[in-house]
């Protein structure tokens, strides 16, 4: 009858006594408590690609900050005795047509490029979250107005904005960030509006509304934290785009002007003589590519790590 006689045989009559109800724990949770962000962090750490990208980005940032400080050369002083030198122990990345040390210039350029990358990714998001949030949450004529402005705005080619803005604001990192923000907020606002609409009728928001929470409380305590993760991903994903836009603007001569420099500007200068001095083009070119790739891959990993569906 019994499949496992030995188990039953180990028990004695005392074992067949009912246990009191109070001693039972029926609602205990056995798994360790993990908060959302701790879980995200854990998944980022486990992801080799994300960690590699992060290390590359970290190296770029450290070099951009410290390399020019410890370099014996100045980024803007011409030295006509040492023009177009190939990379050597003295000039690690060689020198340019005006004899300026490229190692110093590259990392000064990195400062500008990374700053524009970060600023150009964050600025449109801030405007977008604000206007998209208002548009999505309140709806009605406010929504109508903002959406129609965007509809018209996106019809105008980006190059028209950029050229006009650059002409008005002049060149320089701030001008480029403002330009990117003016072009980029529309996409960000649409995206945020969609997310807000998606969350607005979630039951936990309705619960807050039923408890008498004000619209501001609903937006700031409930909706924003829930969409923030996605916005961080959007920002990371927009950094390569902003770096590239700067490079592209400088390359066509609209962006950073000499003696100030950026990766795009360096590439532009290098391109004129690249048959003779290929390193002048390739060094900034490779740095742009590697940085963009690192940000892109990190953005991808971050999106996966923040995806609530993947929680186990």
């Amino acid at each position: 009858m019994n499949e496992n006689l030995s188990a039953a045989a180990q028990l004695t009559a005392q074992d067949f006594v009912s246990i009191p109800e109070e001693s039972r724990k029926t609602d205990a949770i056995v798994r360790p408590s993990v908060s959302y962000w701790a879980d995200v962090l854990r998944r980022i750490r486990q992801d080799k690609v994300a960690m590699c990208s992060l290390v590359i980005i970290g190296i770029m940032v450290i070099l951009a900050i410290f390399a020019p400080i410890f370099s014996p050369y100045d980024y803007e002083t011409n030295n006509l005795q040492a023009i177009n030198l190939p990379p050597s122990a003295e000039h690690w990345f060689g020198t340019d047509q005006l004899g300026r040390d490229l190692w110093t210039r590259v990392w000064i350029g990195a400062r500008v490029s990374l700053l524009i990358g970060l600023g150009g990714a964050i600025a449109p998001q801030i405007v977008g979250i604000f206007l998209g949030g208002i548009s999505g949450y309140f709806g009605g004529w406010v929504d109508m107005l903002i959406m129609r402005i965007i509809d018209v705005g996106v019809c105008i080619p980006q190059l028209v904005y950029i050229t006009l803005m650059m002409l008005v604001l002049g060149s320089g990192p701030m001008a480029i960030i403002v330009t990117i923000a003016v072009v980029g907020w529309m996409g960000a606002a649409r995206f945020v509006r969609g997310r807000v609409l998606q969350f607005k009728n979630r039951e936990f928001i309705l619960a807050a509304k039923a408890q008498g929470a004000s619209p501001m409380r609903q937006i700031f305590r409930y909706i924003l934290p829930n969409i923030l993760g996605q916005q961080v991903v959007s920002i990371t994903a927009a950094i390569p785009g902003a770096i590239f836009t700067e490079a592209y603007l400088s390359f066509i001569g609209l962006g950073i002007k000499s003696p100030m420099t950026s990766w795009g500007q360096l590439a532009q200068t290098g391109s004129s003589l690249y048959r003779l001095y290929p390193y002048q083009l390739f060094i900034p070119g490779v740095l742009i590519s590697v940085t963009i790739l690192a940000f892109y891959l990190f953005g991808n990993s971050l999106r996966d790590a923040l995806d609530p569906h993947l929680r186990d």
Partner: protein, 331 residues
């Protein structure tokens, strides 16, 4: 003729009902000039300490009724009275005060809790919004008291919702609703997403709270057997209209409307012998689209008793027996 009469409360409850809903309407626009009449002229009242069960299939508008009564959706017509006072146009702080007295337990135990808050913070939120218990320690005390009330302990307060099982989350939802000490609780499919044994646990808990705290419930569900168990009165909805209303036991033993009859016969009975010996005729067809309904009785396409009159004229609510109303031409 098409106006549905307000069901009269029975003689035993002469005092003002806690909730009176009259001619409630909520329309949504669905595309170009298409109107979805989610709730179309629905009236009911609930006496203090009683439970009204609101049943119907998906798309019948029962959830919209609940959400409109709580003004999560603004009504397009009709009045909602709480304790005799018309609350359908209250604004600002008057409405905020009102939210302390009416609360809701939601359907989806996964979507109804903010994933970024701990369970303690979720329950605390209502107290913060209404600035009750300004002292932090007292507030904490109250949260733990509520957790204990629903059978959870203080270890659970610092955990996040995703760490809980469905039944535990629903209990957290109930604790959140009770935090403001309301008089009226709308349970919107509050048990539908739970397992059978957990449903019983939650329903028992709700019934105990009703007794202990003198709560009034609007219990919205598609589960007819659970409604029979807990509701004093039952209302049946079909495509935005109320088709039958009555004392629960009377409505279940003598269903008048053909839709109620069909609905009751479709409920599976957990008894194999009964299933072998009974072969009830089930309702055929499906619920049609609620967008731009045709004139006449909305049920006539599926109704086994439909006549030509049903296709032209909308039936009015008539009293079948004392306190038992149905909207059908062929009673």
């Amino acid at each position: 003729m098409t106006q549905s009469a307000k069901p009269v409360v029975s003689a035993a409850q002469e005092q003002t009902p806690l909730i009176q809903v009259e001619h409630l309407k909520k329309y949504f626009t669905a595309g170009k000039k298409q109107i979805l009449k989610a709730v179309d002229d629905v009236s009911f009242s609930i006496a203090r300490g009683e439970t009204l069960g609101l049943v119907g299939e998906s798309g019948c508008g029962k959830t919209t009724v609940g959400r409109t009564v709580l003004r999560l959706y603004e009504p397009d017509g009709g009045t909602i009275r709480f304790d005799g006072e018309d609350i359908s146009h209250l604004k600002g702080s008057d409405w905020k005060q009102m939210t302390r007295r009416m609360q809701m337990v939601f359907q989806d135990p996964y979507a109804s809790l903010n994933p970024f808050f701990t369970v303690g913070e979720i329950i605390e939120e209502g107290l913060l919004i209404h600035k009750l218990f300004p002292n932090k320690a007292e507030r904490r005390e109250r949260v733990l008291e509520l957790l204990e009330l629903v059978g959870l302990s203080k270890e659970h307060a610092n955990r996040f919702p995703h760490e809980f099982s469905g039944g535990q989350r629903q209990r957290v939802g109930i604790a959140r609703a009770l935090a403001l000490d309301p008089n009226f609780l709308i349970c919107d499919e509050a048990i539908s997403a739970l397992d059978v044994s957990i449903q019983a646990q939650v329903v028992n808990m709700l019934m105990r709270f009703q007794r202990d705290m003198d709560l009034t419930y609007l219990f919205i569900t598609h589960d007819l057997s659970m409604v029979r168990h807990i509701a004093d009165h039952t209302a049946v909805m079909y495509l935005g209209k109320m088709v039958e209303y009555g004392i629960t036991s009377e409505l279940y033993s003598h269903p008048a409307h053909p839709y109620t009859v069909g609905l009751l016969s479709a409920v599976p009975v957990p008894d194999p012998e009964y299933c072998r010996t009974h072969q009830p005729a089930h309702l055929q067809g499906e619920v049609p689209s609620p967008i731009n309904p045709k004139p006449g009785c909305r049920f006539c396409e599926r109704c086994p008793r439909a006549t030509a009159r049903c296709r032209q004229e909308e039936p009015a609510f008539t009293e079948v027996s004392p306190g038992h109303y149905a909207a059908c031409h062929n009673l």
